[in-house]
Symmetry: C2
Subunit: 102 residues, 2 copies
């Protein structure tokens, strides 16, 4: 079972590390207990929407950016990240054959 | 303050209605109480990751699809949905001038 809180925790930790902040700094700015934030980052606690908003704010990151990243990572886990960034080989082959046939 | 559970509730309800299912059908298939699912849909209760996974499954919708939709709606609310789907006018103007200058 794919759990949102595990991906959410990873995303929050990754954004925090990208910004070079410590757990202590973010917990303090977001007014949440350090141990609680640590558990959220490890996917062990569900963060309420209010706490999530505070933590996102403390990370100077819009909550939408966090949730989109969670969605993207869940899609990879679910194996449904199927938006192709190139034309699939079989499609471009059949297109090439159509062009030759004209 | 933009709250994730409100957007999540809206998304869950919208997907359910799109599929023509009743609260009772989804609650029963997901093994959650009808009143609880109703509160989640109205953004009044936080759904745990396990319940979210069950409800997504009952809706035959990957959890990543739900979370991406939540992220997209939050981005609109936050006014940061700035990925342009056309080339901005000033950019295409300056490009046109460059071409003429050659």
């Amino acid at each position: 079972m794919v759990l949102v809180r595990q991906e959410l925790g990873d995303v929050l930790r990754d954004f925090r590390l990208q910004k070079g902040r410590t757990l202590r700094q973010v917990a303090s700015k977001a007014s949440v207990a350090l141990g609680y934030l640590s558990e959220v980052e490890r996917g062990q606690k569900e963060a309420s929407s209010e706490i999530l908003a505070s933590v996102a704010d403390a990370l100077d990151t819009p909550i939408s950016v966090i949730m989109r990243e969670v969605g993207d990572r869940l899609a990879v886990l679910e194996g449904i990240d199927v938006i192709p960034d190139t034309v699939p080989a079989d499609l471009s082959d059949s297109f090439a054959k159509d062009l030759v046939a004209r």
